[in-house]
Symmetry: C2
Subunit: 208 residues, 2 copies
């Protein structure tokens, strides 16, 4: 397998920007070989430093995973915000656009998504991670709460239910999809239908 280790330059004692290099290498490992393949030593090898070097920047493995997840959440937030803007521009409802963005992010950055939502080793008390998660949550909330200016505002419970229902729906779909749990259903779909049409059908007003 990969174990890429580029290093033409003679290797100065100090790397220059090891922190960024490690995060970059870590992401590559995660996307290529999965979250469980990301070890401190593998990341160190990938950038050509000693196995204990990462400790200077991240403390322990949890630190590296958490900082990388924070990057993922910031990207995630931007993707959701972009979906909201795009939906506003085209007059579309918020939910379908948000749902597409959510699932597309999960599909295109599967390793990162798994790290963000399935890793037991994230330190949720880390400020950078908390902030990034809040950013994403805010974006999600904004996109989801785009409602046509129609009837009376719903009760607090109904409002929470609506938000949680949409989040659960798209998150469950993304999770099941990445885990291959939908493979059987997908391959049994009529010709011309695929993940995208299935998701669209799920997010269609008819179903919500």
């Amino acid at each position: 397998m990969g174990e890429i280790r580029v290093r033409e330059v003679p290797r100065r004692y100090h790397h220059g920007d090891l922190r960024a290099a490690l995060l970059e290498a870590a992401e590559e490992i995660i996307e290529r070989d999965g979250v469980q393949a990301l070890t401190l030593r593998a990341a160190a090898r990938a950038v050509g430093v000693s196995h204990a070097a990462p400790a200077n920047h991240f403390g322990d493995l949890t630190g590296l995973l958490s900082e990388l997840a924070a990057i993922g959440y910031r990207r995630f937030a931007h993707a959701l915000q972009a979906a909201k803007s795009s939906a506003e521009g085209s007059g579309e409802r918020g939910a379908p656009a948000m749902g597409r963005a959510y699932v597309n992010f999960a599909r295109q950055q599967a390793g990162m998504f798994a790290l963000m939502f399935r890793s037991e080793r994230l330190d949720m008390s880390r400020p950078s991670l908390r902030a990034a998660i809040d950013e994403a949550r805010q974006a999600l909330r904004d996109a989801a709460s785009m409602r046509p200016k129609d009837a009376a505002p719903p009760s607090p419970l109904a409002r929470a239910a609506e938000a949680v229902a949409l989040w659960s729906l798209v998150h469950g779909f993304a999770t099941l999809l990445l885990d291959g749990r939908l493979d059987g259903i997908l391959s049994a779909l009529p010709a011309g239908d695929d993940v995208d049409t299935l998701l669209a059908a799920i997010l269609a007003p008819r179903h919500r």
Copy 2:
């Protein structure tokens, strides 16, 4: 912390039913300390055998995890079937009863649920696991497809969308709940409302 190791009897060389004992100990470890705490050696310690003994029954760690997950899926299938029967008896629609059963299983056997759906180390080609998953999928399908005998049968895409939507909804809810992602929302709920009422609101016809 526990590291319980009961062993009053003098320890015969052969255990008697080590396979079952290991599975039992493994489940206890998983529920008490989480999936990542389940190691071959920890399970062996818990039942008082040598660290290499489990290999005789499960091959490797993946084998133990997979067999335990198969037990979980069989239990899960039974819980869903029971929910369906109960719904049929009371004339309730299938979806809410199934959703409750799904989420309750996840809450009451959180470690097992995590093993079943979040572990990267399950061997999906293992016949016992495949069979157990199929059993659960069938039960889920049965419960979900309970529909009032009303309008015309939907198109294949719509039918798939309906099933996947329900599954995604409850699975996403369970996953987010176990990951603590709903904690903020839950604590902001009006007095008297809790997880159950929130789930009920989500599964109410209004929302589907």
